[in-house]
Symmetry: C2
C-alpha cells in the first residue's frame, strides 16, 4: 500500500512559521509567498488559512517571534556584564548580534507600518524588547553611569544607533563582514555611552 500522507498534521502552525523564516532568508520578504510556504510544509495552498488570518498575519507572527528572540539575545549578552553601564553596552551588542544572525526576522519586524493590525499577542513581544532596553538604562542611571532624567531619551538614542548599524549591515551597505560588524558594535556603543554621559539636551557639550 502507498505510504499515505496524514490528513491532519501535528504542529502545522509552527512548521509554517519555520518554512516562512527559511523562505524569507533565501529570497527576501518581497519574494515571500504564502503558497510557497504551504508547498514547503507539504500542505495545500489554503491550509495556512486555518492558522493565520492572511499573509500579513503570518508575517506578524514571524515578527513577534523575532522580538522574543531579540529580547533573549540582549539578555544573554547582558549576562556577562558586571556594571550596569557595561550591561547596557552589551545589550546593544546583543541587538546587533541578533540582527546579523536572523536578518529575516529583523526585516519583517521593521517592515513599514503595514502592521496596522495590533493583535495583542503580536504587540507584546515588541514592548517587552523595548522594556529590556529601558530597564538597562534605568540601572545605568541608578549606578551613576548616565545622568538622571527621562530614560526614554537615552533609550531612543541607543536604539537608533544599534538599529541603524544593524539595518545598514544587513542591507550590505557597510564594508564589514559579520565579525567586523560585531566589533564595530562595541565601538559604537562606546561612542553612544560616552556621548550620553557628556551631553545635555540641546546637544551642546557640557562645560
Amino acid at each position: 500500500m502507498p505510504a499515505k500522507r496524514p490528513y491532519h498534521r501535528v504542529n502545522l502552525k509552527q512548521s509554517l512559521l519555520d518554512a516562512a523564516v527559511a523562505l524569507i532568508g533565501e529570497t527576501g520578504p518581497q519574494a515571500f509567498t504564502l503558497r510557497e510556504v504551504a508547498r514547503r510544509a507539504g500542505v495545500s495552498h489554503n491550509a495556512p488559512y486555518r492558522h493565520f488570518r492572511d499573509k500579513d498575519d503570518l508575517l506578524a507572527a514571524v515578527a513577534a517571534q523575532g522580538f522574543d528572540r531579540l529580547t533573549e539575545s540582549m539578555e544573554q549578552a547582558m549576562a556577562k556584564g558586571r556594571t550596569a553601564a557595561e550591561r547596557l553596552r552589551l545589550a546593544g551588542r546583543g541587538y546587533v548580534q541578533f540582527a546579523l544572525g536572523s536578518p529575516q526576522h529583523i526585516l519583517v519586524m521593521f517592515e513599514e507600518p503595514k502592521l496596522a493590525d495590533p493583535r495583542p499577542e503580536h504587540a507584546a513581544p515588541a514592548q517587552r524588547a523595548f522594556q529590556t532596553l529601558l530597564d538597562a538604562i534605568a540601572a545605568a542611571q541608578t549606578e551613576g553611569a548616565l545622568p538622571k532624567g527621562d530614560p526614554q531619551r537615552f533609550a531612543v538614542v541607543s536604539w537608533s544607533g544599534v538599529h541603524g548599524l544593524a539595518k545598514l549591515a544587513i542591507g550590505g551597505q557597510l564594508p564589514f563582514d559579520a565579525k567586523q560588524t560585531l566589533e564595530f558594535a562595541n565601538y559604537l556603543t562606546g561612542v553612544l555611552a560616552a556621548g550620553m554621559a557628556n551631553t545635555v539636551s540641546g546637544g551642546r557639550r557640557r562645560g
Copy 2:
C-alpha cells in the same frame, strides 16, 4: 469629434516616476504595482516596459532619485553652519529631515539587497550621498573637532545614528511627531559628536 488621446506622450518616463512615488507614499512599497502606476499615468499596463527593464528597475530609479534629493537635503542643511563640527551635525539633521519629508524614497532606497542590479546610473547617487558625509567628517577632523584617523569609522557611526532614528521615526516606532523627531535629531547628533570626540577605538572612555 472625440478628443483623442495622443499615442506618444511627452516625458512619460518622468510621469511614471512621479506616479510611482505618489503611489508608494499612499500604500507603501509592498502594495506598489506596475499596473497601477501605468493606470495613473494614463497608459497601458505595458507602456512602462519601454522605459524600465522591469518593476525593480523602476524602483531602482526611484531610489536613485531619492539619493540625489538626500544629498541636496544634507547640503542645504549644512549651508547654515559656520564651523565644520556644526556642519557635520547639520548634515545629520538634513538626513532626518529628508527622511521625514520623503519616507517613500527612504523605504525604497534601503529595501534589502534586492538591488543586486548595480546599474551605474543608479549606484552613483548613493555614492555621492555617502561622499558628502565623508567630506563633512574630514573637514571636522581638519578643524580639530574630531580626532585624526580613518574617517570611515566616524562616517559609519554617524550614518548608523541618523539612519536608525529616521527609520524608526518613519516606521512609527517612536512616540514623536515630525517636529519632535527633528528636535531629537539635534540632540542625537550632539551625542554622536561628543561621543566620537571622546572615545577611542575599543570603546573605553579616554582618560
